[in-house]
Amino acid sequence: MLFAFLGLSIVVITLDFRQDAGGPLDRAKDISSAIVTPIQRGLTAVVEPVGNFFSSLTELSSLRADNAELRNEVEEMEQRVNEADAILTENERLVGLQGLDESYPTMERLSARVIGRPPANYKWAITIDKGRDDGIRPDMAVIDPDGLVGKVIRADADASTVLLLIDPQAGAKARIDGEPLAGAIRGNGASEALSFVDVDTDAEVSVGDEVVTSGYDNGIYPPNIPIGTVSSVESQKAALEQDIDVDPYVDFTTLDFVQVIIESGERVPSEGD
């Protein structure tokens, strides 16, 4: 009997690998959702005040710390506005995003609100309040004013799931802005830096270099979307690749409003291509 169910599990796994959208597993998901969602809604209604109470208890000290830290940050930022370097960095990043508008004059973006996070321990995703009815399809890139957020992996009728860049599965092909050398971004989970992988050991990468999408991945992520800056480079002589950490521009813990790139449109080549 054990083997019967083991066999069944393997069949399910194989199905997941081989099916496209709309297969029997998707229908199974829909059926299970139909059964469990009412229970979840009922539970949430009852449980939300309790949950909020407990989360606020556990969050209290970190909220206080965040508050103090944010106050310091605000002070620091007000000072930095007067510093030439800060203005330049800020300016370059904005040019990157504005460059987006320039590179893609006909880009169509749809704003959406983050309505939840699918609860899982090894998967980092968000649910947004727009779906198939609004024109969203899987594999569309998602950004926010700071930079690349991730990609759509599931589009239901009126909500979608977006896999965040910090998830190891999200993987965007990337390069250093202004340079042809290419690699890929690999997430390492929450509160860990992104990894910039598959980069040639000969390539010159320095801390502070800006990382953007390269567009070499079958059109999922349009090129030139800002991702982050290089925060550390470790290059061992014997190793085949460099160990490069990237600090993302986007704060994945406070995502609120994002934009889904429905259509990147015709790309106008810019300098540095």
């Binding site: 009997m1 169910f5 069944l8 599990s9 299970s32 469990v36 979840q40 090894y122 997430g187």
Partner: protein, 187 residues
């Protein structure tokens, strides 16, 4: 307590378990999934969500043996895959099926009425489940986080699951005992 019988268990897949019992176990698993994705998703321990479904699977396997362990493990795992997808669908089903079988088979080695046995079973099962899932996902070609990150999360999951057991196990046992069929096979 029900009177024990000296007759051997009758063959047949779930013949001697009873429809009422099956329904109740199914409901418990359903509730566990719903709870895990709502209340427990907000009561995270350092960002980690406890695996209540696994606790329920282990509890039922511990109480009723390997056959129940396999079925409940598969059902709970599959539900979790469908509703709280993490990586490949079917992977949790596979892992929980094996865990259910393992716990159900090894429970006979647990000392009689010790309070710690189910707690230990959950701790061990959680550790095995977390690492097996990660390992299988990597083998099947999925990109995964680092080993240290997995260990950090797994350690927290084991801790959290263990903390839940003294609350979950007695409840599961009480509900399951209500629906025990007359012909009890005492071990």
């Amino acid at each position: 307590m029900a009177v024990s019988a000296n007759e051997p268990r009758s063959p047949g897949i779930l013949g001697d378990i009873g429809v009422g019992r099956i329904l109740v176990m199914g409901t418990m698993v359903l509730l566990a999934v719903a709870l895990q994705s709502t209340l427990l998703a907000r009561l995270t321990l350092l960002g980690v969500i406890p695996q209540l479904v696994l606790v329920v699977v282990v509890s039922l396997a511990f109480l009723d043996g390997p056959r129940v362990g396999v079925v409940v493990g598969f059902a709970g795992g599959l539900l979790q895959d469908l509703l709280l997808p993490q990586s490949i669908i079917g992977l949790t089903a596979l892992v929980y099926t094996l865990v259910g079988y393992g716990v159900g088979s090894l429970r006979q080695f647990a000392p009689g009425e010790s309070v710690w046995s189910p707690v230990f079973a959950v701790a061990l099962a959680s550790a095995v489940a977390e690492f097996s899932y990660a390992l299988l996902a990597i083998i099947l070609g999925q990109e995964w986080v680092s080993i240290s990150f997995t260990a950090k999360v797994a350690g927290l999951v084991v801790l959290y699951d263990t903390l839940l057991t003294p609350f979950a196990f007695p409840l599961v046992r009480r509900i399951a005992a209500r629906f025990r069929p007359e012909k009890v096979y005492r071990w």
